[in-house]
């Protein structure tokens, strides 16, 4: 099992202990609280993913080999969700991120338990992470 798969499986395992969605939310809230503080210099319009209800800031750095993500949100559950994405994708190589099949989202039932607006937000976050990875990948190819 590769690194991406191992990480997704870990998230799926973590969520499998909860039977009630309230507990899953409680867990997401915890994850949101534990997300490392966001570097304020990264809080720019460029890093902002504007949703209808809550805002997400997503920044990425590249060490020449791997992409590292940091993020923040004004809503704590959203922050928990983005922290899951970071846990799965941060520290991987750009091409792995670009091509990642993020099946853990369906496996933990995240999408159907989000309101349509938050679900769209989740898609925007993933898209933005892929965009960063794609940009770093093209740096390598140059």
């Amino acid at each position: 099992m590769n690194e991406l798969e191992q990480r997704q499986q870990q998230v799926i395992d973590d969520f499998s202990v909860f039977t009630d969605w309230m507990d899953k939310y409680e867990y997401l809230i915890e994850l949101g609280k534990e997300l490392p503080a966001f570097d304020e210099t990264n809080r720019t319009d460029d890093s902002l993913i504007k949703g209808c209800q809550s805002q997400v800031w997503l920044a990425a750095t590249f060490d020449g080999k791997q992409v590292h993500f940091t993020a923040d949100s004004d809503a704590i559950i959203t922050k928990g969700i983005v922290s899951l994405l970071i846990r799965v994708l941060s520290g991987l190589e750009p091409n792995v991120i670009v091509n990642a099949d993020l099946h853990f989202i369906d496996a933990i039932g995240l999408k159907e338990n989000l309101s349509p607006t938050r679900s769209n937000g989740l898609i925007s976050m993933i898209k933005q992470m892929r965009m960063y990875a794609l940009a770093f990948q093209s740096q390598i190819e140059k």
């Binding site: 969605w21 309230m22 939310y25 409680e26 809230i29 209808c52 209800q53 809550s54 805002q55 004004d74 809503a75 704590i76 559950i77 959203t78 309101s115 938050r118």
Partner: protein, 406 residues
């Protein structure tokens, strides 16, 4: 009919639905109301028995449908105290009514440097159409600010009116703050200064007895779906002498008197403003909804809802870390609040999982959020089929949510 909550609830089939295996507690009535069985049945009745395009048809069904639609217009006129059916124009909803007024008043009366006064608490639907007109005509939208309780000051209105002011556009009841605005006094002040007045009745129509003549507004708008009627139908009331001066809004069938390539003349009121096949099913069913409300009595509804609002205000605000947004002395059926340390969206998500439907966010009133410097509110809004038990459930769910975020 005596006010029997069990009997009332029994008439709304959706109220027995469950969400996530829990009984639905529907507290999003300011967004849309649920429909009683008579309204649901009426839709089927029209389609089953007298569906035909209205007006100018020679056949029997068309005549039945036309009569039903025009009878519905009488019901609407009567419901809001309009002097005549010619004052009632059917639209897709309050938003279309507002756009119609903004566009046609703009064309007829607004020129460069004119001013349009819009309150700070308006729904975007009663702000953006005026901004569009202002941009087109080189006019200016002037903000009538509210105080931190969410109340508009009439003295402030007097000061804002200038010789350039053409119209004041203000909501009867704020969809975010719940404030009931003193619309009669607003109309008096405006008219004393030769200024027109538009009242957005979207949030007042299900809660307050409307009498447009007593209110003396020039225009009044509302949506059917906010008063237990179907979506996609609304109305505009306008004073006859004004409506006659306004140009048509859209061209097409029914709004014309005669058409040739050289010259087209327009139909009389209200048809001048009703281009195309009207939503006659929606119109007929809207009348059914209004008659349903009349059968219970709007005054009785108002009294009961006020009781619910007072109870909810006292219960919900007893929770530490819950702060109300909108504390006007005169409010109707809306309780907006924020929870310290939690985003409104987070709170709404947790409440949803407990079967409680509230709305979160800016409620299409971003200037209100800017006033308070908040990203949004959680809004519980009540209808006469809600109960104190449901408010207790909201309270308990909220206590749990607050705990989760602390």
């Amino acid at each position: 009919m005596a006010f029997n909550i069990e009997k009332i609830r029994a008439q709304f089939p959706i109220l027995t639905e469950q969400v996530y295996g829990k009984p639905l507690v529907y507290l999003d009535n300011a967004a849309t109301t649920q429909k009683p069985q008579v309204v649901i049945d009426k839709i089927a009745e029209v389609y089953c028995h007298y569906n035909a395009n209205v007006h100018r048809g020679v056949h029997h069904l068309s005549n039945v449908a036309t009569t039903a639609m025009e009878d519905a217009r009488k019901v609407v006129a009567n419901f809001i105290g309009a002097p005549s059916v010619e004052n009632i124009i059917f639209t897709r909803g309050a938003t279309e009514s507002l756009n119609l007024v903004a566009y046609t008043v703009g064309e007829r009366f607004i020129t460069e440097n004119d001013e349009i006064i819009v309150s700070e608490m308006e729904h975007h639907s009663n702000l953006v159409p005026w901004q569009i007109v202002a941009q087109r005509k080189g006019a200016k939208v002037v903000k009538w600010a509210f105080n931190d309780a969410g109340e508009l000051d009439l003295n402030q209105l007097e000061k804002l009116i200038t010789p350039h002011t053409k119209i004041v556009a203000v909501t009867h009841v704020s969809n975010t703050l719940g404030t009931v605005n003193p619309v009669e006094q607003i109309a008096q002040i405006a008219h004393r200064n030769n200024v027109m007045v538009l009242i957005d009745g979207s949030q007042s129509i299900p809660h307050i007895k409307i009498d447009v003549q007593k209110m003396d507004c020039d225009f009044f708008v509302f949506s059917g779906h906010k008063i237990y009627g179907p979506t996609g139908i609304g109305a505009l009331y306008g004073k006859t002498q004004l409506l006659e001066q306004l140009p048509p809004y859209q061209g097409g069938g029914e709004m014309i008197e005669s058409v040739s390539f050289d010259k087209t003349t327009y139909n009389v009121l209200p048809y001048k403003f009703e281009a195309g096949t009207p939503n006659y099913v929606g119109i007929i069913v809207l009348a059914e909804a209004l008659q349903f409300v009349q059968s219970i009595g709007i005054e009785q509804i108002a009294t009961y809802e006020q009781e619910l609002l007072n109870y909810a205000t006292q219960r919900i605000l007893s929770i530490d870390s819950v702060k109300p947004i909108g504390t006007a002395a005169n409010k109707a059926s809306v309780l907006s609040f924020v929870v310290n340390g939690a985003h409104p969206y987070d709170v709404g998500m947790i409440l949803d999982k407990m079967g409680i439907a509230v709305r979160t966010g800016t409620h299409c009133t971003e200037p209100v959020m800017q006033h308070y410097g908040i990203p949004g509110t959680v809004r519980a809004s009540f209808a006469f089929y809600n109960t104190k038990q449901e408010i207790d459930m909201l309270h308990d769910a909220l206590v749990r949510a607050v705990k989760m975020f602390s």
